[in-house]
Symmetry: C2
Subunit: 136 residues, 2 copies
């Protein structure tokens, strides 16, 4: 794990909120949607099936944990999860809170328009709410 | 499980290939991409976190199994997996083989253009290859 470095583009486009077991939990710098990314701290992995079975189970567990907290905090209509990686090949899982009438609803968030960054205060407030919901 | 019925839209837009443990494995009627859907045979579930922990682990296991077989059969650049459900609320997981230069590459498949159906023979040939790759 010591060699692990987040992909440069992911690091630029998101803020690290915390580390939970396997993954870094990151918040995308885009306030159009509450959009999180789980980044397994493993090197040279781009497909879920390249993780060990234990890591696969951990990733599922952490995805579920984060999705549930995000649903609670946002009251969203639907949580969207996805591992695409067509641009950034380092394995990462998107967890996005979607609500009727949001940008590109009911289409996907990926590749749609241009990111709208939060202020530092907005980021701090959102992170605090989410981390609180993640703490049992 | 006896009450389980696939959502009408999913049933119309995809063909049942087989059942593997928890999920129906279905092939989308769209030859622009090799596009599979895993449909857990559970009622009234729209989010992964609403599944029991055992079902969550089964779903991960089956997703990985199918993703690896799809990669093997297609030689795709990247497998895309996603659980969106903004339109069809019944929980389902997309597993899509993506290759550089395919329709909407590197963007997502969801919501892009219009499906191009396979002939019955093309469906049969694809299904046979995939099921063969799924059999140890």
């Amino acid at each position: 794990m010591s060699d692990f470095q987040p992909d440069e583009r992911l690091a630029r486009d998101s803020d690290l909120l915390t580390k939970i077991g396997l993954c870094e939990l990151r918040l995308m710098k885009d306030k159009r949607w509450p959009w999180l990314v789980l980044l397994p701290q493993r090197t040279n992995v781009s497909e879920i099936f390249e993780l060990t079975p234990l890591d696969q189970t951990m990733l599922t567990f952490e995805t579920v944990l984060v999705a549930e907290a995000l649903k609670k905090v946002t009251g969203a209509t639907k949580i969207n999860t996805g591992a695409l990686g067509n641009i950034v090949r380092q394995l990462h899982v998107h967890v996005v809170a979607r609500s009727e009438g949001d940008a590109n609803w009911p289409g996907p968030v990926w590749g749609h328009g241009t990111a709208e960054p939060r202020t530092a205060e907005e980021t701090k407030a959102f992170a605090a709410k989410l981390l609180d919901a993640l703490t049992p």
